[in-house]
Amino acid sequence: MTPPMARRPCSPPHPVDDAVEEILLRLPPDDPASLVRAATVCRSWRRIVLADADTFSARYCAFHGTPPVLGFLHRGLVDTNKRGLFVPTTTSFHPSNSAALDHNKYYVKDCRHGVLLLGDPKSNLQGLSLWDPITGDQRDLPDGPEAVSSRF
């Protein structure tokens, strides 16, 4: 009996097996979901994209050069237009639904590496939240002392 580990993830062997990494490299960077959906296709594709993430993502970045601008954040719009916080610049990408887009209490305080620091406009260290517009993940941060008045 063949042990489970020996079975090919995409059995039987498929003609594209040898070219999978080259194929995945060519998925469009302005549609990040394409790569995620491809990673769901089977175990071996998932391993290329996720388990070897450092290798693959480095190749992907090198292949496509400067990442495309998926959109921009308009700080001034957040209080007047609840949906206007993120302005997409590609037709293929729209940020996932998030409390950050629907809630007018948030103010964009800073951003680093694609993650935004949102917060109450009247408070520096209270009501802070991190939001990843690509994945839609939002994580509230514990409140800091109200007395601190340094600006971000």
């Binding site: 993830p9 998925l27 959906r37 996932s96």
Partner: protein, 174 residues
């Protein structure tokens, strides 16, 4: 650089080499075109493939080899110019038009090309066929991708893993 020995003593004429497909069909092509294959390049530089010898390619059938050589012959002049930095826009547009038409083929032929490009290590062709498959799968769901490429239906175990992954990365499916 010394010119590789052509074996036919016919200086000035392009050196020819013979490639033999898995079904024993012989293809005579310019060495420059065949040398787009990294696998063949060393043999050709060593003087192989000339005269009556020929280079056997046991993994490539004649239909596929014919198609591969069509690509190599078209791309050889640009490759000889180091990727043709001085090529005119017309030349580049013509190659692009050729490439687009070249991969407008049945999926079974495309698969044969993928394997041949991989075995023969023809970088440009590998890139072209990979782009074609990427275009075929972009924007599709995982199950649509599997069906497009003719993967078998997932086993219950594979399906469970796919479901778990879709749940974890739900944002990509909205």
């Amino acid at each position: 650089m010394a010119a590789p020995e052509s074996g036919d003593g016919n200086n000035g004429a392009a050196r020819m080499v013979t490639l033999i497909s898995s079904d024993n069909t012989r293809f005579e092509v310019e060495a420059a075109a065949a040398s787009l294959s990294q696998t063949l390049q060393l043999t050709i530089l060593d003087g192989g493939g000339g005269g009556g010898d020929g280079i056997p390619l046991p993994n490539v059938d004649s239909a596929t080899l014919s198609k591969v050589l069509e690509y190599c012959i078209k791309h050889a002049p640009a490759a000889a110019n180091g990727g043709a930095p001085n090529a005119t826009a017309v030349d580049r547009a013509e190659l692009e038009r050729f490439d687009n038409e070249f991969v407008n083929i049945d999926q079974s032929v495309l698969y044969s090309l993928i394997m041949a490009a991989h075995n023969l290590e023809i970088e440009g062709l590998q890139s072209l066929v990979a782009k074609k498959v990427a275009d075929m799968i972009k924007g599709k769901s995982p199950m649509e991708i599997r069906r497009t490429l003719g993967f078998p239906d997932p086993t219950p175990e594979e399906q469970a893993e796919m479901n778990a992954h879709m749940l974890e990365y739900g944002w990509a499916y909205e």
